[in-house]
Symmetry: C2
Subunit: 250 residues, 2 copies
Amino acid sequence: MEHKNTLLTLAYDGTDYFGWQRQEGVKTIQEELEKALSKLLKKEVNIRGASRTDAGVHAFCQLAILKEPHTIPINRLALAINSALDTKDIVVKDAILVNDSFHPQNSVYKKSYSYNIYNAPFQNPLCSRYSHFVHKPLDIEKMRQASKEFIGTYDFKAFCASKSMAKTTVRTIYSLDIEQKDELISINITGNGFLYNMVRIIAGTLIDVGLSKKKKEDIKEIIFSKDRQRAGKTSPACGLILKNIYYNLD
Amino acid sequence: MEHKNTLLTLAYDGTDYFGWQRQEGVKTIQEELEKALSKLLKKEVNIRGASRTDAGVHAFCQLAILKEPHTIPINRLALAINSALDTKDIVVKDAILVNDSFHPQNSVYKKSYSYNIYNAPFQNPLCSRYSHFVHKPLDIEKMRQASKEFIGTYDFKAFCASKSMAKTTVRTIYSLDIEQKDELISINITGNGFLYNMVRIIAGTLIDVGLSKKKKEDIKEIIFSKDRQRAGKTSPACGLILKNIYYNLD
């Protein structure tokens, strides 16, 4: 039986990659996957991702659509691609069939990211690949209070890198909570979509709050200013993990 | 002021190393640290570790003693060594002065290890450096019950690799508990000392229990048999983390 429109769910360690999207002369997740699929299906294969993660960003749950028809049994496809991959940095976790109307961007209605911070006097080499190291003590309670100020529908232009091409900078954040386990702090954020570098700038702003450089009361003011200069720094890519992508199948 | 007998606390990602102990022709943690210290103190420096971790094993808290006299202020030493290290895989977290009687093995009275298992249908590339992947579902409750059977003072010969040189195979396990967070399972074990591969063989045995290949009732029988063949496999090094070393300062 021939299958077309296959939706792949995948996880990756982005440390050694120039992000998701294929680019000339650098190693990307998309290219590695396309190489594996081309080997498997014995023809040139292109896929399309639901989210363009940046260089060094990780994913626990990225989506990619494969439009190329194939005859590999769908319940064997993830394992077959994993065997064809030249790296252990990328793992296909699931493959399902979707119909023609499925679009990797338009069918998505919600995304979740986590931003990990390792907060201790010294770096932990067992955490450094997947977290941003902050050696000054962070006041988590202050960060928790400030985080609630982001929830809602706002123009998040102040939290968007200038090179963004987005048509509108209005986004809705559904939830933002901060989890702590020993020295590891995770900022968990869910929204209907995120602007370029938005999660990393929110993380940088919340770190400023944790260091008492900014106050909870500043957050709304920064949002309403629409001024990128008022928000915190863009926190490093290594701390960012694309956690989940929610989509409609019809 | 000249200092001697400095005790270093360090963490490392052991993935790319042939273990702690210096060996001809391979990269080891001890050698990397000695290289950094030699550069810093401008003379050949030797250190001695409290625990010989195997190839691929990690440490959150290893101890090493530096007997070479030096004049670096003790509260600046950890940072100075970290700057001199050629790698980010190793971090010195603390340095304190100890007296002549301190011995990196004899002064230690308790050690803790964690053994991490990632239990899901597919591997997670964000966990694979620091956990052993088991794709068949594990029954954690059975593992928890069986884990209690190890607590106490026993001859653990059945849980010791044959190439061990230990004078006695009697050890005391003070605690063994199993933590679960989503797909990640951690076996946390504390004892007065551990035989060669002991934690990894206990982990392999508990995995057998989780897979219903062994029962809680088998554990004591295996211990009393003193027969290595009766215990489970030696689980891979990547899952093992030396968590803590407890010592007396007098």
